[in-house]
Symmetry: C2
Subunit: 215 residues, 2 copies
């Protein structure tokens, strides 16, 4: 075969461009020109733009889901219950472990997640749910066991509250940081912001259940 880094170059370009501008706003021509690849290469290697989008996601979600699954395996085999803090920070650690390339890949990662949610309807969500739904369910079941005596459905919503905070903050980190500088003269790194997030999330998860919903 010829130099088959073509596929990788397409994925790299598509990933960053999608994160910057969204899916519909990124044309195949801008992708292929940044990747220094012929236009037809996308349809040749992937078949369609939608499949390319899915491929971008699986490339960074596959190792994440696999790593998370292994941690769940280990926990289930040893039988010892982790703390709530450990369970939450497990996600952060796994995210940080996955990123192999540059500095701002965490932002790219989060922005892609945010886009996947914002662009709710359509092929992508079903695709992600079909592939990664199982691992998420396992994580959720473990969290139900560990969490402080709240019913399942309450915990389900709190997990989504958590994910909203993380994804929203990280995906718009640059903008929020710029506003922060204008507003109170300080800037923060991504790591700082993750450290700020942890106690916020843990306290939120430990909040009492709203009285009139105890069914």
């Amino acid at each position: 075969m010829a130099q088959t880094d073509t596929v990788e170059r397409i994925l790299d370009a598509a990933e960053s461009l999608f994160a910057e501008k969204g899916f519909s706003e990124t044309s195949l021509r801008t992708i292929t020109s940044r990747a220094k690849v012929n236009l037809a290469a996308v349809n040749y290697h992937f078949g369609s733009k939608n499949v390319l989008i899915q491929a971008v996601f699986t490339r960074f979600l596959d190792p994440f889901a696999e790593g998370l699954g292994k941690r769940l395996d280990h926990i289930e085999s040893t039988g010892e219950e982790p703390s709530l803090e450990e369970l939450i920070s497990m996600l952060f650690i796994e995210v940080l472990r996955v990123k192999p390339r540059g500095q701002n890949d965490l932002k790219v990662f989060m922005r892609l997640l945010a886009l996947a949610y914002a662009q709710a309807q359509g092929h992508l969500r079903k695709h992600l749910q079909a592939i990664y739904g199982h691992v998420f369910t396992r994580y959720f079941r473990l969290l139900v066991k560990v969490a402080p005596g709240l019913p399942e459905n309450e915990l389900y919503w709190r997990i989504n509250f958590m994910m909203g905070s993380v994804i929203f903050t990280m995906s718009d980190f640059d903008t929020l940081n710029a506003i922060s500088e204008a507003e109170n003269g300080t800037t923060a790194s991504i790591e700082d912001t993750l450290k700020r997030l942890a106690p916020f999330l843990v306290s939120g998860m430990r909040a009492p259940q709203p009285a009139d919903l105890e069914k």
Copy 2:
């Protein structure tokens, strides 16, 4: 003039379609056909699609920002400090007060907000920041006074954590609710979910400051 509900009909159709599918994914032709209006009417009344997008936002953000501003006026004039709970629920109340039409407008409202954030770069964000930045700043300053002894920059990030939870959850409410039914057999109303959000957010805001960031 002729029946000038044309503008309103365009805005109604655009609003719901944008919330469903996003901006780029919604063509002027689908908007005008749902609104039962001629294609050229959009460019005639608004000038361009971008201006239409901005108009959709100002239509529901103007009364929101105005109502919020009046509440801030009242608080500042009386001089009494509201509690953190009151300050947070103030946002919820104002959102619920604004929506004039159908049941699912809250979802539409939140989905539009989420889209505005997801489509970070570009005309929309600057436009919103230019118009509504002032009210947001006032709210922020008040929250700094009320909040439990945390530095400004810490509070700034926590506000964004809050907004992330709310916007993310509400904008994807239907999907999350469907997953909830599949996962643990229960469904929730929007009002239930807002009630669940409140203690989560309040506890998160009251969380201790991460030790290694006390600068």
